[in-house]
Amino acid sequence: MKVGLFVPCYVDMFHPETGIATLELLERFGLSVEYPVDQTCCGQPMTNTGCEREAAKTEELFVRNFEKYDYVVTPSGSCTNQVRNNMTAIEQSDAVKHVRSRTYELVEFLHDVLKVDAFPWAEFPHRVALHNNCNTLRNLRIASMSERREEPFSKPKALLKMVRGIEFADLTRPDECCGFGGTFSVFEEGVSAKMGQDKVTDQLKSGAEYVTSSDSSCMMHQEGCARRMGANLKYIHIAQILNGARA
Amino acid sequence: MSGSREAILGAIRKNHVQGERARPAVPLFDQAAPFDLKALFQRSLERMGGRMLTPDATDPMAPVRQAIVKPGPVLSCVPEFEGDMKITPQTKPTDIAPVEYAVLRAAFGVAETGSLCFTEKQLHVNTTGFLPQHLVILLDPAQIVYNLHNAYQRPEWTQAHYAVFQSGPSATADIEGVLVHGAQGVRSLSVLFHPAS
């Protein structure tokens, strides 16, 4: 199984440790993982804003970088959703279709494809609040959502439960969007920041020391709000916890 | 304006981009109906802000009399109870305005929602359901259906010109979510199980 690693632009730039943890974690399972160094972005900022035409070349580049792999794995559900469900600015060739159907968010790849049943190296003796990115939750269906009458399930929680010492902190509005929303965070800054502050307040009230998520983008926004508010909360990507980070 | 009628229907016909979609069959969803619909009805009614009166075997109308605690005219639309006022062929809708209590019989009840159905047959003048300050309602327990699917199988819908489900009293919470009964319609609604004679 040849796996291509996609490291989203903001992870590459601000959270290289998340990319490293993702790579190391996949390597622990004996996979051959490559990171095509000419990658940039999935095209989401443009698509998200409605500018499909402007996204086309970025999408083409993405496909060129990843068409040779059996799976594309990325530590971002939001980018996965873009590739799988919204990469429509370019002609749907076989290569495009292959890449789109084979791109997985890290948690669902571990849970659904590798069917991992243990992380013997992982121990995280902390109180952790889990945040699900909205695309990951409601479009990739990584967990059950409170809006629907369905059997409760959570893939990230199922994986985290295999980590020694971890304790979960419950939020009062676990499914509420944190207000990042891609370009929304810039164009609609006021509401975005208010939603972020409310999310941080909920996390603080839950008694969490750490917040974890399979999406860095939401956490970058939340962390930005938390720091400005002087909130004592730490943000860590789920890849790092599963890869054995202790703090 | 018949020109508009044709224009609208024409535009619709031109714009049917979706192709014909099949009509789903709606099940009755009543497999889980409990044997005792009275208990479920009572729970639902109370949830909606209505009140159940306790039957009195020796004096069936005593609970109705006891429910009438405020002074003012009592209008009875049922033969079982004698009020101060009766509906006559001359009664106008606005004549109901001074009524403090109206005593009515419901056509039937719905256990799922605690709803009572009235048509012009029970109301005589439709405003008897809304202009009085309070309602006291007789409901035949044999006339309770389990859910709304069952309710819409009843004959009233194609017999009456007007039919209403009243589920508890008039309620509003338009100011900061504070529940207030009697926004425009009745301030209270009490129900007595009483078989129709």
């Binding site: 990171y35 629907r148 959570s154 | 359901g129 859910n147 589920s167 100011i175 529940l179 425009q184 319609g185």
Partner: protein, 507 residues
């Protein structure tokens, strides 16, 4: 976490009565503060929702109450959902019934007309708001009506009905408490179900003190509600005509159905000798079996109450009175032909998407500057005026909660994305967005340009991903700290620490 939440919400024993629009727990505002007003309307210029939202959030007591109140309705809705085993099946049915009806809308409209006419209802057809208003005025004038009582109707808001009637010397009295508050304050409803939900009790007290003479220092909800009841009742008794909307129209029986919690539609319809109902042509459903599905879903979705206190079925005039139905198109037949957007016509105006929308809860409904606010507004308003409402589809994080609470399964968040695509394609996009996205698209399409653009200079403004980078306003940093840039990017780390596959083509 979701599991625990589900369990908590399935508890059927409520601590207090919370039917109708009531909150499940007391939510009393603590202070009085001037009420923020809605979006500034400047002719046909695009509405700036964010500007109005920022003013709403600056009124912190209003924002906090609005958010808490609507979130509570969402939770009440969840609790009802857990009490109905067939909930998701009902949503499928509701969606299917609406899609079926819309696909044969001409047939069902004619069927309704035939059956209603046979029962003595006079059916009128109006292609737009102006024609609707003219039809109603004609009926009223010919009967010498000067005072009209009416229940809430979003359609009449679309038609600018009250303003029109005021110009033509017909006094219109709204009888829904929330709508009456808004009428007396000369403001549009901010929410389809709870029109005054953006107001605090003190705001209502000051409106009523000015208009119906209540005590300005008494902001008790019971007192204020009673004042309104007392002030409205004589008008109900003296009005010569009553008007309602219609939530559902049953074609096979010729019935239209109105749902209220206050009983005000029944009073409006049954007290005066003339009843006019204004109904959008998309409200049709085939039969009574179908109606059951919608009545079960409507109030549960809207307010978390099993049913509205009053569900009223009108099939013909009562003896000695007249009943008219005005079927209004106002853009609906055109929307039916919009490949991506016709499913918006399934909407039953429950407001569940507004209650759940995190942007709506923090912005207030008037910030949208349109008849329909919140998620459903974002996808409907541009069909009325694409230029004026072109910014609205951006007032969303596209989180998808709306789509999943929608009782008729409208793919709201997907349509928001489709609108953005449509607007950008048609040039209806703000220049700043266009320029930024064009630049971002060029940078991200080329690994070389992209790598060169990275924040190697480590200057504060450049410490952000591209779509933020090109924003000279640097809105990110106003209320959020900018992330620190690490010593090296992942790309740099990888090149140093791993054997690389062939470096792809450079562009």
């Amino acid at each position: 976490m979701t599991a625990e939440l589900h369990e908590e919400l399935t508890d059927p024993h409520a601590d207090q009565l919370d039917h109708g629009a009531a909150s499940s727990r007391p939510l009393k505002s603590r202070i009085s503060e001037p009420q923020p007003r809605g979006a500034k309307i400047r002719g046909n210029r695009p509405v700036d929702q964010s500007e109005a939202a920022n003013r709403f959030m600056a009124a912190t007591e209003h924002e906090a109450m609005h958010d808490a109140r609507l979130w509570d309705l969402r939770q009440k809705r969840d609790k009802e959902m857990h009490g109905i085993e067939e909930w998701e099946e009902l949503r499928d049915l509701a969606s299917g019934i609406k899609e079926h009806t819309l696909s044969k809308l001409d047939y069902y409209l004619e069927l309704f007309e035939k059956n209603a006419t046979a029962n003595g209802i006079k059916v009128h057809w109006a292609k737009d708001g102006a024609e609707h208003n003219a039809i109603v005025l004609d009926i009223l004038r010919s009967r010498g009506v000067e005072l009209l009582i009416k229940s809430k109707s979003m359609l009449t808001e679309e038609c600018g009905f009250r303003e029109f009637m005021a110009k033509n010397n017909v006094e219109v009295i709204e009888t829904d408490l929330g709508e009456r508050i808004q009428q007396l304050d000369d403001e549009a409803p901010s929410h389809v179900v709870v029109p005054a939900v953006h107001k605090l009790r003190t705001d209502v007290a000051s409106v009523f003190a000015k208009t119906i003479g209540s005590d300005p220092d008494n902001a008790d909800a019971h007192y204020l509600t009673e004042c309104q009841r007392e002030a409205t009742r004589p008008l109900i008794l003296s009005a010569q005509a009553g008007m309602t909307g219609g939530n559902f129209v049953v074609a096979e029986t010729g019935t239209f159905v109105v749902c209220t919690n206050e009983g005000n539609a029944d009073l409006s319809a049954n007290t005066p000798p003339l009843h006019i109902a204004s109904i959008g042509i998309e409200k049709l459903i085939p039969g009574l079996d179908d109606l059951a599905v919608f009545i079960r879903l409507l109030s549960r979705s809207a307010l978390g109450s099993p049913i509205t206190q009053y569900t009223s079925h009108f099939r013909g005039p009562r003896e000695g009175s007249e009943m008219h139905v005005v079927l209004v198109d106002n853009g609906r037949s055109e929307r039916l032909g919009m490949e991506k957007f016709w499913p918006g016509l399934k909407c039953i105006r429950c407001g569940a998407c507004m209650n759940t929308c995190p942007v709506f809860r923090r912005s207030g409904g008037l910030s949208y500057g349109a008849t329909y606010a919140g998620p459903i507004g974002l996808i409907i308003d541009p069909t009325f005026n694409v230029h004026k409402y072109r910014n609205l589809p951006y007032s969303s994080t596209m989180n998808g909660s709306c789509t999943n609470v929608c009782p008729v399964k409208i793919n709201i968040h997907e349509q928001i994305a489709d609108w953005r695509r449509t607007l950008a394609g048609d040039g209806e996009i703000s220049p700043v967005k266009k320029v930024m996205m064009k630049a971002a698209g060029e940078v991200l399409a080329s690994p070389v340009v992209y790598r060169a653009s990275l924040p190697l200079g480590r200057s504060a403004l450049r410490h952000l991903p591209h779509f933020m980078l090109y924003n000279k306003l640097n809105t990110w940093g106003r209320k959020r700290d900018i992330p620190e840039t690490p010593k090296q990017t992942f790309n740099e780390w990888y090149r140093k620490n791993r054997k690389q596959p062939g470096e792809g083509e450079k562009s």
